[in-house]
Every structure is written in structure tokens, then in C-alpha cells.
Symmetry: C2
Subunit: 325 residues, 2 copies
């Protein structure tokens, strides 16, 4: 396989610095979903941990290395899950953590970041403005900037999910991965291509936040002027060139899904699987709903990557009518 | 410690015949719950598996041993979770599984038992009538009767949860266990007393189905004429003497909780932990809600033992107002 910034031996080493509470997460067939989706479905559940998302895997690697020999203060921009995870990982190691987020971010995520003892600065704009502000703070204060998907530790941490998936392949023949900044997709994708190359790696992004997917299809960075999606965890506009380069190596496809399908996916996961998930975590199911023929009769694994939602919004989503498809 | 029917070496051996999909389940601090409960809370999550309850641990032991040298046909009475699990474990080993259940059982559970290919017979009465009918079928057809909590395999399977808990103790100082037939409480309780004797073992039962709890307090079997609880998974009336004898050895306390507290517990787990649980799985949280002083400042582990609910009822429960306490 072509080179990426990732290395399987380093990913195995990363596993050893991650708190076991984030590792060896449940992976199981969910037959109750299957009549609704027309294919065999396995769930990889990344929400049953102290921060309710997969991001702890990456922040454990970041914080673990910093605690050994780096600066004691870090800042990151976050839509909410990275910030929560960095706050958790930093707290356990005595790091001083600052999180910059959009003031439009999911309130439950911001509340948890504060509760975990991190400093929280809100910007009056979207996630891309938060990224700029975090970089400015890092420069000004001379502290470590943690950049999701660009910093290799965030990709290596996410990639440890791939090690766990590859250990059970070829029991499934495609994996559906939410595509945001790209750490999850490039990390898991790298491992699948290295250790289970027969498994199709499919990235899923909302049609309302399509920058990285469009970039993948055009093989060059494409930015967008705005995003419009409930999937706050994956709503970026400025893809990182190095991440796109890796994604071009490891992804077999990148697809866009409609908002109605994301809501239908959340509702199916609630009703048939008993899982509370945030919109980003329903992208895989949404992709199946939108292209049943593609997946018919196959065995698909989908990563349930986060469960941090505002409950008022969530109650509306699961009360909404099912997608008509 | 005084003898029980259980043996720690046999429990370790049982672990080796259980499909890994049921083992090493998530155990994590859930800080978002803690301001609401006034104590540190760890969740042991037994619902992220193909049957959405802990019962697969026990049925794997039953079916694994039967597949080696036993009869190829089995029957059990079930409120729904044991039947689902036995159907799953039996299907994988080519066993012929019959489940007898009350026609008032949770519909979602009955549907899953059918979907898993088991024969399902409904009785026009409660779980105790289903137990009688299952025993009659076993006698008449000469097939194996699986009796939850009485059959040592069901206790040994459940007890493997205790091995996982004991591996992290003394990080918590009490464990709250739903009390139904008693397999979960005697199994986990046995291991805690053997390997982590400093951890308080507290059983929790609904006030509307108090037979085994009353029996524990009076140190003799007490039956009740009826049950009245939404916690269908623990609604027995006729405690098994051998199980009570074990429970008297391993439980430090057995408490009863009101229906309103069970609903409040389900709602807290939904809103603060993002977990869909069935009523039985909220008994631990209900016990904390009813006796905050007892748990204040302590670290409590609670077993989230099942997530099979009728969604219409569940939507009502999580929409209900919080318990006023």
C-alpha cells in the first residue's frame, strides 16, 4: 500500500499509552436493525466511556506524550468532543487545558468541558474561527496547540479502533466511517488497508458540510463558505492538505448524506438498537438508508463514534417521522 | 467466607466457554450522573451485545456444555431476556430452543425471541405460570429444562461480571445489583466476597415484586400472591430456596424501591448518561435516589443489566416528570 503519515507499529505503540477505559470497545451484530437496512450490521460502540466519544483515544496519546516531556499547557479548537476528551486526559495528568469553541456549539458538550475543569473560550463564529483563535492563543502564550486530524497523535489514537476492527475482519466486508476533520477516517482506514485490505472503507459526510468529501473526489482541497448540518461534530470547511493526501490513499469512497437521513439513522439506532447517538454517529446508517442497493446482502460495520447531544434537540429528532426512503 | 453453590475456579472456567462478545464489557465513571446522585458512579454496561442484556453470559455456559455432551433440545421460562439469550446461544450451536413466557411479557422481548428462531409458547398468566409450564414441557418431552438462577451455569455466567468488577476494585466501595431470580446477585456477590470483600454488595428489587428481598430479610422463603412493577425482568413471586441460601451468604443488604424511582432512574440514565435501559437496569440508580445519605460521597458501581424495552412505554417513561425526591 502507498504511504500515509500513519504507521501501524506506531499505532500499536499508541495503544499502550491509552487508558484502557477507551479500548476494546464493544463490537457486535445488531440484528434488530437489519430488516430496516437490508444488510448485516455490526456496531462498533465508542460511546460507553467517560467522554462518550472516540476522541479519548487520541487525547490520551497527546496528553500521555506531553506529560512525559512536553509543555504543561495545551489549547485546542473543538466542536465539543475533542475538547471534552482533552480536558479528561489533561486533568488526569495535571495539564492546563484550554478549549476554544463556537458559541453555537452543542451546549451539552460545552457544559461537560467546563465540568471537566478545562478553560473554555467561545468565539462568535463557526468551528473554523475557533481553529484560528486556538492557533493565536498557542502562538501568543507559547503553549502546545492540539490540531485534530493534523496532529498525528489524534490520528494514531483513532486508528487503534482499526486494530480492534481488523482483529475480527473478515467477518464484515465494509466499514462506514464518519468524516469530519479526517482523523477517524484516515486512522481507521490506514489500519484496514494495512491489515484487512479486503474491507471497503467508506467515508460519510453530511451534504451540508461536504468540503472534505468534495476534496477527496476532486483530489485537491476544496473549501466551502458555510456549513448547514445538525452533525456538529463533522462540520468543517477547510480540509487539511496532509489529511486529504492520506484519505486519498486509504478511502475507497466518500459519500454525502441528507439531513433527513441522519435523523432517520438516529431514530433507527434509538428504536431498534437502544442507542442514544449524536448526529455524526448516525452517518453510517444514513448512508445505508440512502443507498440500500449498494449494501444489500453485505455485512457492514458502522462506527458509533459519539453520543453527546442536547437532549431537547435529541427528543425532537427521535420524535420525527422516519425517512420516507 | 461461608460456602455457596458457586466456586471461583468454576467461574473462571465458565468465562472460557462464553462468546467474547459478552465479556469485558465497558466499566466507566459517569460524572454527568454524579451531581444528580451525590456520589461517584461507575456504570458496568451489559447491554452492548447481540441480546442487549447480561443473560448471554449464562446461556453461553448452558449451551456450550449442552453442545458438548447434552441433549440437543432445551426449554426455559423467561420474562424475555433469558429466552432471547438462550435462543441466541442455542442457534449458534444447533440446539432446538423453546421459550415459555407470559403473554403479558414485554413485546419487544417476545419479538426478538421469535426473530432468533426459538419456539415461543405463551401462557395466560405471569412468570411463575411460565415456569410451571416449562417444567411440564421438559418432563413430557424429555428435554433439558433451563432454570434461571437454580441452574448453576446461569449463576456462573452472571458471576463472570464479578470477575471483571473485582479486577478494578477497590476503585468503588459498593455495587448495586438488580435482584430478580437471584443469578446475577448471587453470582456477582460470590465473586465480590471472594476477591474484593471490602465492596458492599447491595441487591435492589422493586417494592412491587419483593419476594426474594423479604425472604433475605426473614432468612426464609417468603412468597407473594402477585407482583406489580414495570420491572418485568425481576418480577418473580416464588424464590428458590438454594438461591436464597447463597444470597444470605453474599449480600450485605437487599432494598426495595418504588416505581417512581425506577422511572426517575431510567430518565436520569437517558438524559445524563445517554443510555437506554429497561426498568430492571435502573434499580441501582433508583436505590441511590431513595437513600442519598447512605451513598453520599461514596463510589458506587451499578450494573446496567438490560436494555430491552417496548419503545412506546419507554417514551412515556423518559417523558415523565423526575422523581420529586
Amino acid at each position: 500500500m502507498q504511504q500515509t503519515r500513519l504507521d501501524t507499529a506506531r499505532i500499536r505503540a499508541a495503544r499502550r499509552v491509552i487508558d484502557p477505559v477507551f479500548l476494546d470497545t464493544a463490537l457486535y451484530r445488531c440484528e434488530a436493525l437489519e430488516p430496516h437496512l437490508g444488510c448485516a450490521v455490526s456496531i462498533k460502540l465508542e460511546t460507553a466511556n467517560p467522554v462518550r466519544s472516540f476522541k479519548g483515544r487520541g487525547t490520551e496519546v497527546v496528553a500521555g506524550r506531553l506529560a512525559q516531556d512536553g509543555p504543561r499547557a495545551v489549547v485546542c479548537a473543538s466542536a465539543g468532543n475533542l475538547g471534552q476528551a482533552l480536558a479528561w486526559s489533561g486533568r488526569g495528568r495535571g495539564l492546563d487545558v484550554t478549549v476554544v469553541a463556537s458559541r453555537f456549539a452543542t451546549r451539552a458538550k460545552l457544559d461537560r468541558i467546563r465540568a471537566l475543569g478545562a478553560g473554555l473560550e467561545l468565539v462568535d463564529g463557526d468551528h473554523e474561527l475557533a481553529r484560528e483563535r486556538a492557533a493565536a492563543i498557542a502562538r501568543h502564550e507559547g503553549i502546545r496547540l492540539v490540531e485534530d486530524s493534523l496532529d498525528i497523535e489524534t490520528c494514531e489514537g483513532a486508528a487503534t479502533i482499526g486494530l480492534e476492527l481488523a482483529a475480527t475482519a473478515p467477518s464484515f466486508d465494509a466499514v462506514l466511517i464518519a468524516l469530519g476533520g479526517g482523523a477517524l477516517a484516515t486512522g481507521v482506514g490506514h489500519v484496514m488497508k494495512a491489515l484487512a485490505p479486503g474491507v471497503e472503507v467508506i467515508c460519510v459526510q453530511p451534504a451540508g458540510a461536504p468540503a472534505l468529501t468534495r476534496s477527496w473526489h476532486r483530489r485537491r482541497v476544496v473549501t466551502t463558505a458555510a456549513t448547514d448540518t445538525i452533525a456538529d461534530g463533522v462540520a468543517g470547511r477547510y480540509p487539511i492538505p496532509a489529511v486529504l493526501a492520506d484519505l486519498l490513499v486509504v478511502a475507497d469512497d466518500a459519500v454525502l448524506v441528507e439531513e433527513a437521513s441522519i435523523v432517520a439513522g438516529m431514530r433507527l439506532l434509538f428504536e431498534q438498537a437502544g442507542l442514544v447517538v449524536e448526529p455524526s454517529a448516525a452517518l453510517g446508517v444514513a448512508a445505508i438508508l440512502e443507498d440500500r442497493d449498494r449494501f444489500a446482502g453485505r455485512h457492514v460495520a458502522t462506527l458509533v463514534c459519539g453520543a453527546n447531544v442536547d437532549m431537547d434537540a435529541y427528543r425532537r429528532w427521535i420524535g420525527a417521522p422516519l425517512h420516507p426512503s
